[in-house]
Symmetry: C2
Subunit: 377 residues, 2 copies
């Protein structure tokens, strides 16, 4: 496991020492793509239908078409090739029923977009041949050939570590490696708990906001309007201002009911989606970390293995070097994760709070108007 042939220069994945520690080598221009325009296609003379999405990378600006199953194919390739070092989050769930419903297609597209954006942001993935093929194949023939080549790629699994090159960086001590590993493991577990907690709270809040709460505002609205129509039947002159204002106030609370019910789609939705993405991502880490842990164990047994002549002293040195490389990779990956996490949570919290502010301001505005309809005293 620890001894693999050296990689060819072209495929080497460089790691540098950045301000925050080891980091991947990032491309100068950030790759990005847009997933849009879902279209129904048919095959076998209309016997089979599917949804095709247009994927446009910012490099070529030329859209290519992909079905969900192509994304799934890409996912499998990335997992095989990079999964040992890079957590590859799952795709949005497969679904059999209702997959031609507009709401579902929109949601899947949004999640495929989120997944692709995350993949584009990862320097190892973004620069890989298979990912580039997916984004910018020239024609069907190009795609078919590329596919076949990728499927035959033998540099998969733990092979990734032999292509990683912490260029010029000193070997790490296995104890340090172990320590880093533990620390990151603790962090991802804690974050997993935090994310799940937020998701649970968010789900309950969603239910309340779309269920009992708007019903209650609606009932308040109806009660005001009902009182208004009773007042209207009094036969007493000169209370039109009050009854009109009361009706208006009632309608305002009905408006608020609708607003409350619609609001989660505008803010909580994105908070939930981001946390769902992170839940998926965090779920990949135990495996990634596990690979490292077993490598470290092996290195720690090194002296024993040499003593019992199971490996040569040279092998032992190679093993230690490889474990060090793995730790550099893990640390680069951690730093990539952290910087993305900061970016994503900052972004989604801003969006959430922005929409919440708008929501409460709009309610205040509506109520102010309702208030102005009553006679000042």
């Amino acid at each position: 496991l620890l001894s693999k042939p050296a990689p060819k220069g072209k495929d080497r994945l460089l790691i540098y020492m950045g301000e925050v520690g080891p980091i991947w080598s990032y491309p100068e221009a950030a790759l990005d793509c847009v997933v849009a325009d879902p279209k129904k296609g048919t095959k076998m003379y209309g016997l089979k239908s599917y949804i095709e999405y247009q994927v446009s990378p910012n490099t070529t600006n030329r859209p290519v078409n992909h079905r969900y199953k192509h994304f799934d194919w890409l996912y499998e390739r990335l997992l095989d090739k990079f999964g040992s070092a890079v957590p590859i989050p799952s795709l949005p769930d497969k679904q059999v029923t209702g997959r031609f419903e507009e709401e579902f297609i929109k949601m899947r597209m949004e999640r495929l977009q989120g997944w692709m954006t995350r993949m584009c942001r990862h320097p190892v993935i973004a620069t890989s041949e298979v990912f580039q093929l997916f984004l910018s194949y020239k024609d069907e023939k190009d795609w078919k050939m590329g596919k076949r080549k990728a499927e035959k790629d033998e540099a998969v699994g733990a092979m990734i570590f032999s292509t990683i090159d912490p260029e010029g960086l000193p070997d790490l001590d296995p104890i340090d490696v172990e320590h880093k590993c533990e620390q990151f493991s603790r962090f991802t577990r804690a974050m997993d708990d935090g994310v799940k907690d937020l998701l649970t709270v968010g789900q309950e809040h969603w239910k309340r906001c779309t269920g009992p709460l708007p019903k209650e505002y609606q009932r308040i609205g109806k009660a005001f309007q009902n009182l208004s129509s009773v007042f209207n039947s009094s036969g007493y002159e000169g209370e039109a201002t009050l009854t009109d204002a009361l009706t208006q106030a009632g309608k305002t609370y009905e408006d608020i009911a609708l607003m409350v019910a619609e609001q989660p789609k505008k803010d909580l939705h994105y908070l939930m989606e981001t946390n769902n993405e992170y839940k998926g991502l965090l779920g990949c880490f135990p495996d990634t970390i596990g690979v490292h842990k077993s490598a470290i164990e092996k290195v720690k047994e090194g002296d024993k293995l040499v003593a019992t002549s199971k490996i040569t002293p040279g092998d032992k040195i190679t093993m230690a070097k490889r474990a060090s490389t793995m730790s550099y990779a893990l640390q680069a990956e951690m730093n990539h994760f952290h910087s993305n996490r900061i970016y994503d949570y900052n972004r989604v919290m801003r969006l959430y709070l922005e929409e919440q502010v708008k929501f409460y301001e709009t309610i205040a505005e509506k109520l102010k108007h309702a208030h102005s309809q009553f006679t000042a005293m």
Copy 2:
């Protein structure tokens, strides 16, 4: 029932024709009073304690002291003397346990104030001897004498109608009277339903606002703060801005939780109190209306009674006149009720909406601040 001696000039209750129909004669200056400053007093060398309230009318500006049982005495006198024509709302409930607790005393005082304000506003009550005694007795002796006199007053029950004088107004047709009676009866029943509906909705909303809703905001707040402290443990440099902002956002939702829980006391409370008052008031009307209905029945039987010599033709004319007077009184009372209702509901809705606007504006303000703590991108 229908034949009573004519009143003396001084006690006559005049009814005029106003723009909206028959109205009571209102005093030039509106009577008002302040109920304040509850103090614990003792009797029998400290064996018995009670709460005494200061009641200060705007006429004398001199406070007089009254215990709850004095208010209750006043209520009984007013009910005896005016209850047939004027709905006298019940006092706030008697209570045996916890009646020295601050919260209870405050609430009772507020309700006694509400009751007194309503009584002060009624021209028949406000100008009555017993009410004036209650508000402005000079000393203990004056109070004791006045009490005894009021308790001996024989002009009670249906006698009120013989003191009412629709000065110079033509007698009303019994059919018209019956119609007016029916209309008002329908209105009060419908309003009673409307008020009870609003009270039910309000109670449920109160429960939600003080129970599950703030708990949920609190949990959202805790989830944000929890995530912030997980982030804080990442060991990654330079995310203090995010973790601080996330903590801030979490605390903001905890603040909102408190605000949500406190809000009903600031707005819903007054809406509920007003509706509770009206529920009480509306509960008095069936009796008032019943007195009229039976009078009208008697008048409709008039010809038969004359034919069978049970009454004289002169009695019949007197009966019709009295029924007409009763209807004038009912209409004056209706118009009094309607104008007060418009005033009270306009006032309480303005107050409610004003506080609601403040509430939502404050939340928006707090969230805006929380939003500003995140890094702009």
